[in-house]
Amino acid sequence: MKRTHLSRREFAAIAGTVATAPLRGATAPTAQSVIEKLQTALGGEWPATGVEGIKAGDPSTPIKGIATTAMATMEVLKQAAKANANLVISYEPTFFGRADGPPKAAPAPPAGAAAGAPGRGGRGGGGGFGGLSPDDPVYKGKKDFIEKNSLVVYRLFDHWKSRKEGEMVTGLAEALGWSKGRVKPDDVIYEIPSASYEDVVAQIKKKLNMHGGLRAVGDRKATIRKVMLFPGPMAPELIYKRYTDADLMIAGEVREWENTFFAADIFAAGEKHGLITLGRVASEDPGMRACAAWLKNTIKEVPSQFIAAGDLYWRAV
């Protein structure tokens, strides 16, 4: 198909809008169209039942810019609004759990239900259960902010995590300055300049701008030459099967009675294999920085940038 290209300026002139003013509506793609383009570029199936999808905002919103982040916290949303990045692509949920909002099409719980007995986390879940109330003030405040600022929040998770390019891992390696040390292109092992475990911890804290989230297990005097990177949650099977493959495993999060005490027992047994947990979100930010870089080459109609969710913890002193 042959097509005459119109620049934005020419188009605006034809459309009668002021060419020097920021263009809206006529040329800005909608959230829906940007997301469809992203889905097409990543490929695969996008079932409506998955955790991915628009979590807040109107799909027909004209998009001025894209912000990627590990988690669309209020602070990230504020920065995105300020930066005119009104499509926010978040790796983790926006509304405080996998359900990512109040139960759909369910009657509102009786007043005060959210303030009743706390849910108890089962062995498989997070911090409890019992759905989010649609009247919850944090939920409402966040949703109002998104709507007032014409933001659209989209969760991109499985399709980014399972990319064969493995940007969640390579992004973390890059943020840590270790990209060149990758041992095999399809594995998570990196050779790094030899240093003590304590020194490696100090380097990581500085490079990832950590505040209180990083926790280390193992012999702090051990020499580290080889590391394995497991951003996000690290399954117990990985530590059982692979702990002897490297001097240090760096994960997002693990369960304490599993991987943490496996690592503590490694230390007690006199072996030199450490385990660091960065915090789930802090470990995933670099992979979403890589996502912004990928989007710049994939969706050229609007600018893309990364906004860090960051390390949300501080330590009691």
């Binding site: 108890r120 986390g121 911090g127 702090r220 599993e258 943490t260």
Partner: protein
């Protein structure tokens, strides 16, 4: 007394019937007919803890958490590891017996994992609490000062917090271990052991961060799983001494594993 007899004696002294169908509260390793030289109560039968118990001459371990790094103490995935062989050899060579008492403890009318930790961090009003202690009032303070007090009084080293350290707080909701409560609107601070950080049933970390951004006084204080259920096992040792006589019974804490 034999291992089997110690377990029977405990079952007879519980405030509610022993959960016979529990897959957690079983003898994990060791001979039920072995003579008990001494009992160690602990939060977790870690390798380091086992060494200290053995050095103290205590050959029966009563542990709240798992021994083989998974909740079911299933050895299927770990038995090929060198670490499993080393820990198993140590247990067998020293003829230790390990019995787990997780569900039993949480089901009691007074849950020592809750009362022990509330006492350790200086929160009053939970002295006879069950597993669900509910929201407890504290003298108004800041989140930062509350967390500092918890650290100073308990000696726990690596307490992670979320929220504004200057936030005024006066209500605390505590849950032990992985039973960290989801945030509810009638509390200012949730204190827990461990929970999945994001993409779980309820993500407290993001909730508190966002509540803080919206100007609300909310805080999250995460003690760590093991330390958050640990200190009540000292009470448990004292309780065992009331009906098990003539055998040394000691609290041997699991180590706090973290630094950094």
């Amino acid at each position: 007394m034999k291992v089997r007899e110690v377990i029977e004696a405990i079952k007879q002294h519980l405030s509610v019937p022993f959960p016979e169908r529990s897959t957690r509260d079983t003898l994990k390793i060791g001979d039920p007919e072995m003579e008990v030289k001494g009992i160690a109560t602990t939060m977790m039968a870690t390798f380091d803890m086992l060494k200290r118990a053995n050095a103290a001459g205590l050959n029966m371990i009563i542990t709240h958490e798992d021994t083989w790094w998974n909740d079911r103490d299933d050895i299927k995935d770990v038995q090929a590891t060198e670490l499993y062989k080393k820990k198993l050899d140590f247990i067998n060579q020293n003829k230790l017996a390990i019995w787990r008492n997780h569900d039993t403890t949480h089901a009691q009318k007074v849950d020592i994992t809750v009362t022990g930790t509330l006492r350790s961090i200086g929160v009053k009003g939970g002295e006879n609490a069950s597993m669900r202690a509910g929201v407890l009032p504290i003298p108004e303070t800041t989140l930062g000062d509350f967390a500092s007090q918890a650290k100073r009084l308990s000696g726990f080293r690596e307490i992670r917090c979320v929220g504004d350290p200057k936030a005024k707080v006066s209500k605390v909701l505590f849950g032990p271990g992985y039973a960290t409560p989801r945030f509810s609107l009638d509390t200012d601070v949730v204190v827990g052991g461990e929970s999945q950080e994001a993409d779980g049933g309820f993500d407290n970390v993001e909730y508190v961060a966002d509540a803080t951004s919206l100007g609300m006084n909310k805080g999250l204080v995460m003690l760590g799983h093991v330390v958050s259920e640990q200190n009540g096992h000292e009470d448990q040792a004292k309780w065992l001494q009331t009906f098990i006589k003539g055998i040394p019974i000691q609290f041997v804490p699991a180590e706090e594993p973290f630094w950094g």
